[in-house]
Amino acid sequence: MRFLHNRMFVSGALIVGTLAVTALAAPLIAPHDPNAIHMNDALLGPSREYILGTDQLGRDLLSRIIFGTRISLSIGFIAVGISVIIGGVLGAVAGYYGGRIDGLIMRFVDAMFCFPTIFLMLAIIAILEPNIFTIMVVIGLTSWMGMARLIRAEVLSLKEREFVQAARALGAGDLRIIFRHIVPNAINPVLVNATLGVGGAILVEAGLSFLGLGVQPPTPSWGNILIEAKVTLGSAWWITLFPGLLILITVLGYNLLGEGLRDVLSE
């Protein structure tokens, strides 16, 4: 298999795979209840009982990070899913039908690009209640424009290709042309970009949670573990180091996977 010969792909897949398993099996893996408070054990460093130490309420950091994986990954996936769906449909319609529809959609994309995304997100979250669902939707709604441009460009070039022209000359309808001839050939770059996008969405979630606008405590997410640790940064280094490291590794994993996919698919 050519996938297995690509180092970037393999290392990315290993990281992402491990994380996915961790997220799915969180209750089985976690040594403690992530929300159980042990005031007597507050701010303990890494030890045999608490492998990564405890936070200021004596909760087990490792367990909180393991459960945080669920939040981060599901936000990454669903946010990117939303952006692929919106960007995909709008980009494909713009590219395939062209003309005025294309102009209208792409000017809307330009307008969306002009918004300072972080302020848009803050404004929406200020109105709506900040919870996992809102975060997913908000990240999805503010990150589909690049996908729309990418897909439009793919569709534009594919629809002039001769096999598409031949299908049209055969009498194939729009739906058949789009789903049988255009979509399967446009999927590779979308897959690559979506993979890279998951890493980006996880970073945005961590950022929002750090600002206190993301996932609300006590639900553990990597971002809100970080902000709770801010107060004790001077004395308890482990509470910031491990979630931060994990965010780094996760985003790195998705980026490696995406780059690897790009290399393998473009061969």
Binding site: E162, Q165, A169, H181, P184, N185
Partner: protein, 321 residues
């Protein structure tokens, strides 16, 4: 005399030339300018011309991929451009187009089998269980009986791919094939094989062809009748023998002299037709060929010559023919 299978009348296609940020239309490229001809059932019409003369645009118009700005297209005496959806659907089954590049003519994500079966599905030609047999028959017809149809086209050579493309076109049981430079991207030995295949298939399936090429040698090998295009217009048309042996238009003579037909050793160093094709945006006034014509005389060539019958079935647009 048999009836014409397809007839074009006064087909025109102008592409607007836009300038500036407001996209003001400042002119038009006359890609196809008042072209008309007919093809008899079972015959082959060859259309020859330099690149940029409007051949491919004409092919796309005939395949109903690009709507013309004016003119009529009759298929078996039915006007196809009148917008009858059922008639257009029939037309799309009966008329197939084969493009130049066999590498981009096949969907890389479809197996050979699915590419060839697609026309049968679109037009619901056979019950499902008969389709595999039909696909095998077609592969045999195009000389690919030994190829596994459940493979992807990426493993095939250019010549094999072009045979697959031909099989796909035949799958719809067409009457007319539009061949747009069908062998231009193949090497010479493969060209001869594919041209022979076209000859065999014409007899086997009683096909009519419209063959488009820049290469008069290829045109002459397959055509019954030849039309010569120059800057969007047909400037000479007639039976193959006449065009090849007694051309009347100086441009046709130039094409014939351009080394392709001359015997080895007598090949000219100087080009037979001097100069380049003039700008399509500012066409030469009068006869479009006068800027390159060795016989141009003024003021006669300031007016455009009409296509007129000079001999039986042999038309030419030149004041001095």
């Amino acid at each position: 005399m048999s009836a014409p299978i397809i007839r074009l009348e006064h087909i025109k296609k102008y592409f607007p030339v836009e300038r500036g940020i407001f996209r003001r239309v400042t002119g038009a490229i006359r890609a196809v300018d008042d072209v008309g001809f007919s093809v008899m059932s079972g015959h082959t019409l060859g259309i020859v011309g330099e690149s940029g003369c409007g051949k491919t645009t004409l092919a796309k118009i005939i395949a109903c991929l690009v709507p013309p700005d004016a003119g009529s297209l009759f298929f078996e005496e039915n006007n196809i451009l009148k917008g009858d959806a059922g008639r257009l659907r029939q037309f799309r089954r009966r008329v197939q187009i084969i493009f130049q590049d066999p590498f981009s003519s096949l969907n890389p994500k479809l197996k050979i089998f699915d590419s060839i079966a697609e026309p049968m599905h679109i037009h619901a030609l056979y019950p499902k269980q008969e389709i595999p047999d039909r696909v095998r028959e077609l592969l045999v017809s195009v000389g690919l009986g030994g190829v596994d149809p459940y493979r992807y086209p990426r493993a095939l050579s250019g010549g094999q791919r072009q045979r697959i493309v031909i099989a796909r076109a035949l799958a719809a049981n067409p009457s007319l094939l539009l061949l747009d430079e069908p062998v231009a991207s193949l090497d010479v030995s493969m060209q001869a094989q594919i041209l022979n295949l076209f000859t065999e298939l014409q007899e086997q399936f009683r096909l009519s062809y419209i063959l488009i090429s820049h290469d008069l040698r290829i045109i002459a090998s397959l055509s019954d009748e030849i039309a010569v295009m120059y800057m969007g217009k047909i400037i000479e048309q007639g039976p193959k023998e006449n065009i090849v042996h007694t051309p009347l238009h100086p441009y046709t003579r130039g094409l014939l002299d351009s080394g392709i037909f001359s015997l080895a050793g007598t090949r000219r160093i100087t080009p037979a037709i001097k100069g380049d094709i003039p700008s399509h945006i500012r066409l030469p006034e009068g006869c479009r060929f006068h800027t390159r014509c060795p016989r141009a005389r003024f003021p006669a060539c300031r007016t455009a010559p009409a296509l007129a019958e000079k001999k039986q079935g042999h038309y030419v647009a030149c004041h001095f023919a």
